[in-house]
Each structure stands twice: as structure tokens, then as C-alpha cells.
């Protein structure tokens, strides 16, 4: 792969390094303060982080492709999460356990994800320039439809047999569907414990496969088209690329991956809270990605891994650190939610502000040309 030569813009590198990734640096500081305060043993922390990496990375990776295609942060990933949940509900109903159950759920989630991805892609194509807010509202809209289906149609219209899933009133699904017979089945398969830290090799293998797919995908024709569309839609269209279709495919792929990611996440958690587990997923994944130094138009796999580690360390240590400082553990809870939302706000503002700053540079250059010209004229 040839090396892409890019001239580093002037301005000393350290300042530019700090300006480009203020968010990750801020997080390193927060973690540095909170970890000693929280008083968790290193092995406990490591264990927690590794398990959380195992269950979240797949989900966060699904955000990379829409960013590459210029659709910004895909808040519509909750659609994929819902598709995964619906598949899991069926699998739990048919009592299919263990790894076969997980594989069946993944296969089953594909049609739902594709359907929801197409719908979301179409709507995003209709609201160009406002993709993020539209995908955010779509996730609420589909959440309404999801509840309509799961809370009312499952039972009378869609046959649900198993008593442990159906609500006693005959229609709708319980608030929590237990996946105990599927719990950690992927993680335990080839898990290795080193110095007290359980490392789920199989899950990481699956994640590695997806990472390979994403890097390989960038080098395919479709990946190249997406990068072109992401940077300049008009030029891509003039070159003959079907812009709408490319953007649609990027959303469908992202939704399908989100579906798989959700199944891995829930398999690790061991139970499925039908109505609430997907509502915050989008926000936490995007916060994690942004913490890793990604921005609205540029993200790579490095950001995902760094983001998960930093974000989740903060997520684990904040409550107890908060309790130590103020004596009330609720403070820590609120603190970590505040930080997650704060991080997204900061990242969005910096992205928009940077877009506007590029415009004003041209003016200064002109002023300088003028000065040099006058000097020459003066000699």
C-alpha cells in the first residue's frame, strides 16, 4: 500500500497534536485522577476493561463505515441493535442455546437489519446535510415501532410459545428476557486466564475478523466510492458514482454490523432488557468513539480501541471516585453520564468550528500577498 504523502501544515507539532486530540488527553487526565481514588485493584480493573472491550468494540466498529461515507455519526445504529434484539427474542423463544443459538440469532438478525438499514438510508438521503439529527430522530421513531411490535404484536399475531418470554396477559414480551443458557458462551469458548484476567480469545478473534474486513473494505471499489462521496458528493456524482446508492449501502452495512454487535453484547450480559438496553447504546458507543480521538468526518480503528479503554475505565471508576470525593455514590453516576454527553458536545462543536476556521485562512493569505507586493513596489 503506497504511503499517502501529506505535507504537515505549519504551526509547531505539539500544539497541533494537543489541538487535534484534546478529548482523549482530557480523558487520560480524568482517568489518572479517578483510578487511584476509586481504590479498585489493578487486576479487577483489567478484568473489567477486557470484558467490556470484548462486548463493545464490535458495536463501535459499525460507526466507522458511515463516517467514511460522510454521513457523520450514525445515531441510527440503534436500529441494528433492535434487529439483533428481535432475533434474540425468537432464538430465546425457540430455546436454542449455546453457540448455535448465537449463530442462529446473527443469521436471523440479517434480514431485519437490512430492512431497517434500507429505511434509515432512504430517510438520510432525503435529509442531506442534516444526517445526524435525522438519524437521531429515526432511532426514536423506530423505537416506537419496535415497541408496537414487541409489546403488542408478539403473542397474538407473531406466535410466541415460551412462557418465560411472554407476558402473563397473553401479548407482548417481558421486560427482561433471560439469555442465561447463552451467557458468555462466546467468551468462555477459548478463554485464557493470565494473572487473574480472563481474556475471551474467540470474541477477540471475531473482532479481529471485523477489523480486517473494515481495513480491507477501504481498499475495495465500494470503499473508494464511499470515501469519494464522503468528501465531495457533487464531484463523485460528476464522476458517475451513484451517490444515493453508495450512501444507502454504507448505512445498511453499518446496521447489519450493529445487529451482530448487539448480539455479542447481550450474549456477554446474559440478559436482554427488551425496552431499554438499546436506547442508550447509540449514545455510549459514539461517546466512546469520540473519546478515542475520532471526529465527525475522520475515524479509524485505533480510535475505537483507545476510546473503549479510556471511556470504560472512566465508566468503571467514576462512581466510586465520586463517592470518595463527595461521599455520595450517585454523584459519580451522574458524573460519568455528564462526561459522556459533554464529550460528544465538545467533539461536535470542535468539528463545526474547524469547518468554519478553514474558510477565514484564505483572507489572511491575501493580505500578506498585498503587503509583499507593496514592499516590492516600494523598492
Amino acid at each position: 500500500m503506497k504511503k499517502k504523502k501529506t505535507l504537515r501544515p505549519e504551526g509547531n507539532p505539539i500544539v497541533r497534536f494537543i489541538r487535534n486530540n484534546t478529548v482523549p488527553i482530557m480523558f487520560v487526565l480524568i482517568c489518572a485522577v479517578c483510578i487511584p481514588l476509586s481504590g479498585f485493584s489493578p487486576s479487577y480493573l483489567l478484568n473489567e476493561i477486557v470484558t467490556r472491550m470484548g462486548r463493545n468494540i464490535f458495536l463501535i466498529l459499525c460507526l466507522l463505515i458511515p463516517i467514511m461515507a460522510g454521513m457523520g455519526l450514525n445515531f441510527g445504529m440503534t436500529l441494528g441493535a433492535m434487529a439483533g434484539e428481535i432475533a434474540l427474542i425468537f432464538v430465546a423463544d425457540w430455546q436454542i442455546w449455546g453457540i448455535p443459538g448465537v449463530i442462529l440469532a446473527m443469521i436471523l438478525s440479517i434480514p431485519f437489519s437490512i430492512l431497517l438499514g434500507l429505511l434509515c438510508g432512504k430517510l438520510l438521503n432525503m435529509s442531506k446535510g442534516r444526517e445526524m439529527i435525522t438519524s437521531y430522530i429515526i432511532s426514536f421513531f423506530i423505537n416506537g415501532l419496535y415497541q408496537l411490535v414487541v409489546l403488542y404484536m408478539m403473542g397474538p399475531i407473531i406466535p410466541i410459545k415460551h412462557f418465560s418470554i411472554k407476558l402473563p396477559r397473553g401479548y407482548g414480551i417481558r421486560n427482561t428476557v433471560s439469555l442465561l443458557n447463552m451467557r458468555q458462551v462466546l467468551d468462555n469458548a477459548l478463554s485464557v486466564t493470565i494473572a487473574g484476567v480472563k481474556i475471551p480469545i474467540l470474541t477477540f478473534a471475531i473482532i479481529a475478523v471485523l477489523c480486517l474486513f473494515v481495513t480491507w473494505f477501504r481498499k475495495t471499489k465500494l470503499g473508494q466510492d464511499m470515501r469519494a462521496v464522503g468528501q465531495n458528493m457533487e464531484v463523485a456524482r460528476a464522476a458517475g458514482i451513484n451517490v444515493e446508492r453508495t450512501r444507502l449501502i454504507s448505512i445498511v452495512i453499518s446496521t447489519v454490523i450493529a445487529g451482530f454487535g448487539m448480539i455479542i453484547y447481550l450474549q456477554n450480559m446474559g440478559n436482554l432488557s427488551t425496552y431499554s438496553s438499546h436506547s442508550q447504546i447509540g449514545m455510549f458507543c459514539i461517546a466512546a468513539l469520540l473519546v478515542g480521538g475520532a471526529s465527525v468526518d475522520k475515524a479509524n480503528i485505533g480510535n475505537v480501541f483507545l476510546g473503549v479503554i479510556l471511556f470504560h475505565t472512566m465508566f468503571i471508576v467514576a462512581p466510586s471516585a465520586g463517592a470518595k470525593i463527595t461521599g455520595d455514590s450517585m454523584i459519580g453516576e451522574y458524573f460519568r453520564v455528564f462526561i459522556s454527553y459533554g464529550v460528544i458536545t465538545v467533539a461536535l462543536v470542535m468539528y463545526e468550528a474547524k469547518k468554519r476556521r478553514a474558510k477565514s485562512l484564505a483572507g489572511h493569505k491575501l493580505a500578506q500577498d498585498q503587503l509583499t507586493e507593496d514592499k516590492e513596489a516600494a523598492q
Partner: protein, 519 residues
């Protein structure tokens, strides 16, 4: 091309064009803006904008058989490449990726069997080879791996041309003012590459204002004016002077003969010192200009040379620098309010974008600036604490100008978007007149309106200047119009004032100035 005709809703843009081009021949095409050059090229290239506005009559023969391209892609297949004025490059891609955009050589991959050809992997080595070959064909060295963003402007231009050259079936290349962005050395390199292109049998249509370039590289020169081919002559038998005369020279119709007054002894009302304006496409560099009180000063020049930048910069719509002294007082730049308060007014060239509130009534459009700046049509309530909109005063003011400028509309309440182009322009004028300014910038007042409305608008401007003694600076790319109304005309070229001449000078003189400093 045999007797090609094109009109846009009554404006005859192209009438009876006959043009022939041999393989490997280089044809220089020049003419004033609005002469129809670009429209002709867009017809040849099958741009859909032509189809949307009623298509064209006459026929085009491409190596022998009659063609009618429904879309640019068909033209590309047939072997016609075009490099537009605006860059069409992907900023974050390297030169190689841009050159082969959407034509990348691919290798089948296991997934592409299932999901179709879009999942083939790109064959980077092959891409390297092809782009190197295209660049070599171009004859100019550019770094294939550099990202467009970091490239000097000239290299971007060469990358676009290399992209067209990389299409093997290329037989005809249209270059639309390619040398405008290049330095002398780069322009020379481009001319060499055009020469070896024509040696390889590729015909080139070279549109430019740099007449010396046409003479040095083209075999034949075609001059267009007002939608007609005025001259089609081998380049050997002509020179720069003839071409400018054909380009600009019109049999001056007597009716427009104006009494250009000599106002040189009037005091200077506005003096501009080393003004720079960063308006995209209309960069202004280091302009010094003095405007006499009560005169009508025209500013002419070719499109993209910066004449529109001057008023937009002074009025603060685009970032600008330098000193502007009006009536003895210095006006700070980059703040429209100061200019308006020093009662300068500005009629923008972008009628629909800047000039009008399309979804509001005529009343709002006319009365709004006057209300905001000079507090007209406002009732003072509670002792001036609240300034209430005085609807009656607004309606009276609007009706006054509707009558005065004969604006055709159902009532003053009608929405601006429902008016014709000519009437919309009159509303913009009314908006400026309502401010009762001492100084008026008018930018491209007659662009895009029918001939009848043009005369009315110019008449209104002249009356406003003569009766109210308002100094008017009119910016237009229609040289004839400037000569019919202005006292003096300044020509802007390459972002600078190339020269100021009294309006009675022959148009060739102005033509010369226009092409002199073309950047």
C-alpha cells in the same frame, strides 16, 4: 456542428453556429462573457442543463455520424473530455486516485462473487502505472501520491487534465480557461502538452482570454460575439489586435449614444486605497480608485477578474481590507451597517440569494433596509421605547416605487418569488432607492432580464442619478450597456484596475484593457 441554435425563453443565446474540427487540430475559442462560448461547449458535452432548458436545434456530427448526447457520460464514452472552470477533484484523495476516479482497475475478490463487482479490490500497482502513464502523456511532472489538498493550484489543474488524458478513447479535449490559475512557467508547460496531444491525434478546443497563448498554440481561431461566430480564421493570418476588435467591436448603435459628461473637476466623493477582497471567484488585489461626486462610473471586465468583488468587499459582505474614505470620513470594512449608515446603498448581483426575501411580500423587500437603518415606517410607542412596524407607511412607500418604476405585480402584498426576473430587479432597485442614498453601487443590474426591462432599469438609474444627484457606480460585464450610460469606465482585470477611460472611447481600447492583466 451544423447551424446549431439555442435560446433561453426568448433570449437568443446561440444562433446558427457552424464549426468543423479535424482530428489533432487545436482550435482557439474566444469571446466576451455571455458570447455563448460555454453554452456551445455544454451542448457538445451533452450537459443535462441544456436538456432541462429546452434542448437545442441543428445537429452535431462526431467523426462522421450524427450524435445527440443525453448525458456527459455518453459524451465521455464517445471520446470527448472536458475540464471545467471549477475544480472537480476530491480534496482528500491523492492525484492517482483522482485521475482514475470511478475507473479504477480492479481485481476480483472472493466477496465480489457474491455481492457483485463493487467489492472488487483496487489494483493499486495498476493504478500507479496508469496514472504515471497519463502524467507522462501530459508531459508535466506532478507528484502522483500527493493529496490534492496539499497541492499548489497549478498541479490541481494538471491533475484534472491528466484525468481526461487517462481515458484511452479520448479524441476531443475541451479546456475551459485552463491557464487562468497557472503561473507563466506552468502555462508554457501546458501549451507544450497541448502540442504533443495534437501530435498524437487528439483534437483540442482551447477557450481562453489570453490571446497570445491562442496565437502560439492554436491552428485556427474562432471568435464569438452575441451568440454568433464572428470570425473563423487560421491563427497564422491574425494578431492580438484583430482578435480583440472582433471580440469586442460592435457597430455602435446610435440610439445608445450618451452624453458622457466630463466631471473630472468634481470633488472626489469616494476614494479607495489598496483594497483586497476575499470573494470566491472574484478575488480583488490592491485596488486604488477615486469616484467623482455625481458621476456614473462604470466598472467592466471579464467574469472572474474581480470586478464584483469591489462592491461586495466595501459593503462588508465578504472579508476585505484596505482603506475606504467616503465624503471625508473613513468607513470601517467588514460591517455592512457602517456603509448603510453613511448612506451608501448596494444592489447585489445575486438577486435571488442576497437581493430578495423570496417568501415575503414586496412591502417587506422594499421597506426593510430603510426601516432597519433609517427607522422609516416605524411608529414610536410608549415614548420611543418600542418601535412598532407602521404597516400603512410601508404600503405607501412600496406603492410609490411600484408606480415610479412600473413594477408589474398584483399588489404590494404579492410574494417576491412570484415576480418575473425584470420586476424582481426593479424591486431590488426600489429597495436601494428607498434608502435615499448619497452613493449607490449597482452590480449586474441587467443580467438575466429581457431586453425591454433592461432599458427601463437603465433609464431609472440614469433618472435617479440626474434628478437626485446620487453618485452611481455600475458594475456590469455588458460593455455596451456601460458605454451607453456611464461617464467613465474602469476595467478590472486580474483583480486590479487595468485602466480608466471615458465612455466615448472605442470598445477595442476597453477590450485591450480587459485581456491585458488576465490572471
Amino acid at each position: 456542428m451544423r447551424n446549431v441554435k439555442k435560446d433561453f425563453y426568448g433570449n437568443q443565446v446561440l444562433s446558427d453556429i457552424n464549426l468543423t474540427l479535424q482530428a489533432g487540430e487545436v482550435l482557439g475559442l474566444c469571446g466576451e462573457n455571455g458570447a455563448g462560448k460555454s453554452t456551445l461547449m455544454k451542448i457538445l458535452f451533452g450537459m443535462d442543463v441544456i436538456r432541462e432548458t429546452g434542448g437545442y436545434s441543428g445537429d452535431i456530427l462526431f467523426n462522421g455520424e450524427k450524435v445527440n448526447f443525453a448525458s456527459p457520460f455518453e459524451a465521455l464514452e464517445a471520446g470527448i473530455g472536458m475540464v471545467h472552470q471549477e475544480f472537480s477533484l476530491i480534496p482528500g484523495f491523492t492525484a492517482t486516485e483522482n485521475i482514475l476516479l470511478n475507473r479504477e482497475p480492479q481485481r476480483r475478490s472472493v466477496l465480489s462473487e457474491v455481492f457483485g463487482s463493487r467489492l472488487n479490490t483496487l489494483n493499486y500497482k495498476e493504478m500507479q502505472r496508469r496514472s504515471a502513464e497519463a502524467i507522462e502523456k501530459l508531459g508535466v511532472h506532478i507528484d502522483a501520491d500527493m493529496v490534492i489538498n496539499d497541492m499548489p493550484v497549478g498541479h490541481k489543474q494538471f491533475t484534472e487534465i491528466a484525468r481526461e488524458l487517462s481515458k484511452d478513447q479520448l479524441k476531443l479535449l475541451i479546456l475551459d480557461e485552463p491557464t487562468a490559475v497557472l503561473t507563466e512557467k506552468e502555462a508554457e508547460a501546458l501549451l507544450d502538452s497541448i502540442r504533443n496531444m495534437s501530435r498524437r491525434g487528439i483534437a483540442v478546443i482551447f477557450i481562453t482570454h489570453r490571446l497570445h497563448e491562442i496565437l502560439s498554440v492554436c491552428d485556427r481561431v474562432v471568435v464569438m460575439r452575441d451568440g454568433r461566430v464572428v470570425r473563423d480564421v487560421p491563427s497564422g493570418e491574425t494578431n492580438v489586435m484583430d482578435i480583440t476588435r472582433w471580440m469586442v467591436g460592435r457597430d455602435v448603435d446610435a440610439a445608445a449614444q450618451n452624453e458622457a459628461r466630463d466631471l473630472s473637476n468634481e470633488p472626489t466623493i469616494l476614494s479607495i486605497r489598496n483594497l483586497w477582497v476575499d470573494m470566491p471567484g472574484e478575488i480583488v488585489r490592491n485596488v486604488n480608485l477615486d469616484v467623482k461626486k455625481g458621476e456614473i462610473l462604470g466598472i467592466g471586465g471579464l467574469a472572474g477578474q474581480g470586478k464584483l468583488g469591489i462592491p461586495n468587499g466595501i459593503m462588508g459582505l465578504y472579508e476585505a481590507g484596505g482603506t475606504v474614505i467616503f465624503d471625508g470620513k473613513e468607513i470601517p470594512l467588514n460591517n455592512p451597517r457602517h456603509c448603510l449608515e453613511a448612506n451608501l446603498a448596494f444592489v447585489s448581483e445575486d438577486r435571488r440569494g442576497v437581493g430578495l426575501l423570496l417568501d415575503e411580500s414586496l412591502e417587506w423587500n422594499v421597506a426593510f433596509p430603510a426601516m432597519q437603518i433609517q427607522g422609516k415606517c416605524l411608529k414610536k410607542l410608549l415614548g420611543g421605547l418600542i418601535k412598532w412596524r407602521d404597516e400603512k407607511a410601508i404600503t405607501d412607500l412600496t406603492n410609490k416605487y411600484i408606480k415610479e418604476l412600473a413594477i408589474k405585480c398584483t399588489s404590494s402584498k404579492q410574494k417576491a418569488k412570484e415576480l418575473s426576473g425584470g420586476n424582481q430587479q426593479k424591486v431590488c432597485l426600489a429597495k436601494a432607492f428607498a434608502l435615499e442614498p448619497k452613493f449607490l453601487f449597482v452590480s449586474e443590474p441587467t443580467r438575466g432580464i429581457d431586453v425591454g426591462a433592461k432599458a427601463l432599469v437603465l433609464e431609472a438609474l440614469k433618472r435617479f442619478n440626474r434628478e437626485n444627484g446620487v453618485t452611481v457606480v455600475m458594475i456590469s460585464s455588458e460593455l455596451e450597456e456601460l458605454r451607453s450610460i456611464c461617464d467613465r469606465i474602469a476595467i478590472v482585470s486580474g483583480g486590479k484596475i487595468a485602466g480608466i477611460l471615458p465612455a466615448t472611447e472605442p470598445s477595442e481600447k476597453f477590450g485591450e484593457l480587459m485581456v491585458s492583466g488576465v490572471r
